[in-house]
Amino acid sequence: MSLIRSHVLVCGGTGCFSSGCKKVQDALQEALERHDLANEVKVVETGCFGFCKMGPIVMVYPEGAFYCQIKPEDAEELVSEHLLKGRIVERLLFKEPVTEEAVPLFNDIGFYKKQRRIALRNCGAINPESIEEYIAHDGYQALARVVTRMTPEEVIEEVKLSGLRGRGGGGFPTGRKWEFARAAQDDVKYVVCNADEGDPGAFMDRSILEGDPHSVIEGMAIAGYAIGAQQGYVYVRAEYPIAVERLSKAIKQARELGILGKNIFGTDFSFDVGIRLGAGAFVCGEETALLASIEGHRGTPRPRPPYPATKGLWGKPTLLNNVETFVNVPYILRHGPDQFAAVGTETSKGTKVFALAGNINNTGLVEVPMGTTLREIVYDIGGGIPGGKAFKACQTGGPSGGCLPADLLDTPVDYDSLIAAGSMMGSGGLIVMDEDNCMVDVARFFLEFTQEESCGKCVPCREGTKRMLEILERITEGEGTEADIDLLEELAEVISKASLCGLGQTAPNPVLATLKFFRHEYEAHVNEKRCPAGVCQALLSYHIIEAQCKGCGLCKRVCPVGAISGEVRQPHTIDKNKCIKCGACVAKCPFKAISR
């Protein structure tokens, strides 16, 4: 008989893993044994809770107490106070950044209040390595219903009715894609899950695979039934070891139980899933390059049509969807298309998961209904900008997307509104930038990334991104001219029109978006040789404002190259020939007497 009265959930996502959740887990287990509570309290490792900044996260049930930034040393107090004597340990609870108030319950935390978890419904709620816990949360019920009671056409109809659109970034209606793959005539078809998440800073797919791998498998199996495929592949990058390990375990458990394999739930339907590891090339997120890579070829794209739905993996009809798209499928088939479509906007249904990063208080993974405004995400969920600094822009869609300035903060987040505003949804990276970010430098960063990741197959992308990067480097080094800005725009147009695949076609977007909203920053770099944000080193010139300098000598001591001289209590000076513009003096000066 089970005597367990409490579950202690410890986040085991990559974020919490790197902040030491394993040691916390061990320390909790030891403390429980010391207090003779190991038979009453069960420690469970879960997937990502999303609040990565606050990791390692520990959640104690039945109370639902949410503890954050737990260290192994805290385990004793947690066990002796909360688990033995029933006193919630206030000092370890989450404190709201503005009010400093401790919030005991998960659902009352500002970060979670405005979220709506559909794709992340099981992340942090179940043990991802237990197929039984997934089943207890109604896992595989949708698959059972689909294969025993529905025709493939009915399944596709429900997905179409739900309004689900591809979460990888393109936003193509999922039901229609399934319809094309269903219509393709062939005995052999494939279902492929794109888990080659390449946007810098994005980790939605990784967290889903780590926290809820069975939902992905279930979504793929439903897709297999709908289009008539018997084999699926998950293409995931090898640099996601925890995701790969949990997915492998999940596939093994599903096979052992008979949920994957021959005659699923006693029907004629058979389906299996395999894993293919990618080496982490950004271009392999492009569907044709991804399929080439699975086939064992070099990951380069090919022209479309034919689309993978008619001619994909090994020349067979292939349905390719992103992790987040698949994870929504069991929810739709279980709760009905109407319940899914009730969330979101007219043209974008459901929710979207974002990886919130950059200069923001609450970094982590958030899931919001489509149509939530950027302002709500940045301020209500993200907790605003640290240090009281001013919001400047947020980048959506990673290197393929664009940035939106402060006056567009009320843009609702959905596929069409973001494109209309001059950016794009993308796969869900959301990077917040404040007044200290130089937008020319941001554009240079993304171009450096796409140029490096360009596969080199087509000239516009291979040569064009290289030339654009050179121009941007020139501008940030103070050697740009006004003609350079025109040239950037001209190159951007050619690259986006003439490139073979999405990587090249969207590579100029960060430049175009920053030019659209922050042209004055480009002009300041080119005409005044000045970087308004004080980021581009070549354009900085440090000098000490005599009237403000008290001669304390702190700057002199911190300067690594001995470029500052001066007598005590007398204004100091900087030798510009020696100065390496590292900024150490500015950071140290208590009187704000150094300008750049």
Binding site: H7, L84, K85, G86, R87, E132, I135, A136, G261
Partner: protein, 112 residues
């Protein structure tokens, strides 16, 4: 091969264990320092055994209840709709009687 009935059986069995994460009715035992000194731990373990044995939709929780020391051990029942009943100076044998009196109100867990 797994049948749908077998899938549902696993769901119901494991859901019982996971009811801790979504408690409906709660039986709170005062396990503060004074409560433990008065024998609350024994009451708690007995309550857990009894609830588990009968498969009731009732979650046993330890909490530091603010009650006079002379009333310890204290047991508080909070139903899913918030109704409360407080029992004082409860012994291990009595907690079984309390659970018995609550059995109809709380009902059994699905599949129990």
């Amino acid at each position: 091969m797994l049948t749908v009935a077998e899938l549902n059986a696993i769901r119901d069995r494991v859901r019982k264990q996971l009811s801790i994460r979504e408690p409906h009715h709660r039986l709170i035992i005062g396990v503060g320092t004074v409560g433990i000194a008065a024998g609350a731990r024994e009451v708690m373990v007995t309550a857990m055994e009894e609830v588990g044995r009968r498969g009731l939709d009732l979650v046993v929780i330890g909490e530091d209840l603010a009650m006079p020391a002379s009333d310890m051990p204290v047991v508080k029942f909070v139903s899913a709709n918030g109704e409360e009943k407080v029992y004082t100076k409860v012994t291990a044998a009595e907690v079984c009687e309390i659970i018995d009196s609550l059995a109809d109100t709380v009902g059994k867990l699905p599949g129990a």
